[in-house]
């Protein structure tokens, strides 16, 4: 999978998203992109969302999804994980160091950005959904496809990591 190629990387046969899927995407594109920004940073967010949508709409679960919004959020989270994995691999091979990739945002102090970079994609997801939209653990669990217990556990771990740089 291309980590940053976006849909432009897919050559050959293409079909256009059907109207229902396109409407759904348009309705949620902004919040999905914001969510992706919380996961991978602003420079890669649009590509992650585009890749996620291409992947989820092509899947067999899409047409019978009872909660397509949640499915799209999960797809973005899944794609972000793939992005992190590919990014770490490339980074490791090229630099031969074991630190995680930076979360590059000039608006954020370097030590805070470093702390965010140390969070797992799932931890970033629960932090973002909890603090951006004030969602409760149950709703976050539905959007991330995990249990409420996992949301609370990951949120607790993330808060612990971030507390050191935010207090």
């Amino acid at each position: 999978m291309s980590a940053s190629g976006g849909v432009g990387g897919y050559l050959g046969l293409m079909v256009v998203m059907d109207e229902t899927s396109a409407d759904l995407f348009s309705r949620h594109a902004a919040e999905l992109t914001r969510f992706a920004t919380g996961l991978v940073g602003p420079s890669e967010a649009a590509d992650v969302v585009a890749d996620a949508m291409a992947r989820v709409v092509a899947s067999r679960v899409w047409e019978r999804a009872s909660n397509p919004r949640a499915l799209m959020f999960r797809a973005v989270l899944f794609e972000a994980r793939m992005f992190h994995r590919a990014h770490r691999r490339r980074f490791s091979r090229e630099a031969r160091v074991s630190q995680r990739e930076a979360f590059e945002m000039p608006e954020i102090e370097p030590e805070v950005a470093a702390a965010v970079a140390r969070l797992s994609p799932q931890q970033r997801a629960v932090v973002f959904l909890t603090y951006w939209d004030d969602l409760d653990a149950r709703t976050v669990a539905v959007l991330c496809g995990v249990s409420e217990g996992t949301v609370r556990k990951q949120l607790g771990r993330a808060r612990k990591k971030l507390r050191e740089v935010l207090t």
Partner: protein
Amino acid sequence: MNDFDDRLRQLVRTIGEAAPPPPQVPDLPPPARRVSWRGPLIALAAFAMAIVVFGVARLLFSPGSETSGDTGLVTVRQQVVEITLVAELSCDQPVGAGTSTLRIETWADFGGGRFRQLATYSDGSVRDRIALGDLNYPTETYAKGQSGLVVPACGDDLLAGDPTSGPNVMFFNPPTESPNAPGYRQLGTIVPGEHADSTGRPALLYSQVIDGSGVAGDGTEFQIHQVTDWYVDEATGDVLEKTFEQTAAGRYEVLQTIVVTADEVTEIDPATLSTDSYQQEWSGDDGSRGLRIDAEPVQPSLRLGSSAIWPEPLEFAGSRVLARRFAEEVLGWHSAVITLDPEAGADAPTWVTLVDGQGYELEILVTPVGADGWGIFQIGDPTGLGVAPLGYASIAPEAVPAATQATIHVADSQGATKAWRADVAERPGIIVLPNFQASSVHTLLVTYQDADGYTVAASGGQFGP
């Protein structure tokens, strides 16, 4: 609400407000794109099939060794592997720090079912083992000597593996690196550019990087970085060299290198594979010597998958949820303890161990399939699928002591699930599925029940198109 929450909220707001404009409504590829995800898994299944079909065919037709009529020599595949283990340990309770080397010479007589592994350790000790039957599923093993390898560890945590431990003879490349362990085709990603192994042989480089964390005895969490590299002969697909590097800053750094220095077909004196002067280490019964058990058709109790063994459709909630569902819905293990391979990445194929309340244990391989969700691609050891007379599918059942019957579910290439039941009590043999062609088997699941109908074991895999 406190200052920390306020600052965290502000941080999230800063990040969210930096979001770029949403992408345009994307075009999407046709469903065929999913094939690119399933490809490696199909390769895994095909690999497993190659092994088990080989094994069953050998049992059914029992070919002899290839010998030269003039000389009486046996044709074998001979392999030499050099292993280096370097461990820098700064943890509490370090074990096995320093450098160890190990040389393994293997002679494999696939036709005659004899395999010898001679391991020479850096301390001068020698371990010599001969396996009979199948390389992966030997029916007998013989050995002499002792292993001289000290596996590096921090306390009870082993940091590398001993390739000479366990009942199997190590033969490094397909058909038998290990039937249960996905290799570079499944786990690695090819690294662009020109590469060579440590001996200078041109090679394709596949790499897998895993970043995870561990917890020390005092509860401290620490980061673990693992890199596995495979240097692969482009022409043959054989692994020339494999390295495994595991690092935890301030605790340990371990590098294991396995280099195949010789791999050729040659002829040897049959005495090289004689078990005379060896101690029998293990003797098992492959349970299939010439006895045919015709399975009875029954109503299927579950539906097998099309892209995975199970479920259909795939599970979106993740590997743990999928494993729980499998334990409860397929095995009937309602209080199973589920343990995920801690080394597996969150989005990577993961071996999951299920242990029920009575101590029965089963490993399953759960794997993400793009955005479709998670599926199970291997259950237990690879199932022995073979071909009986008239082309009927046959299965070499596992020797499960408590089992009195086996229930076989098969999904054919059209996606339909059929089921059979076979009595395996006191009657080890080959299970035959009457009127069902082996070539029609797409997905196979065999569960074993005790006299109370409780499932005590299972195996399954994917085979044909």
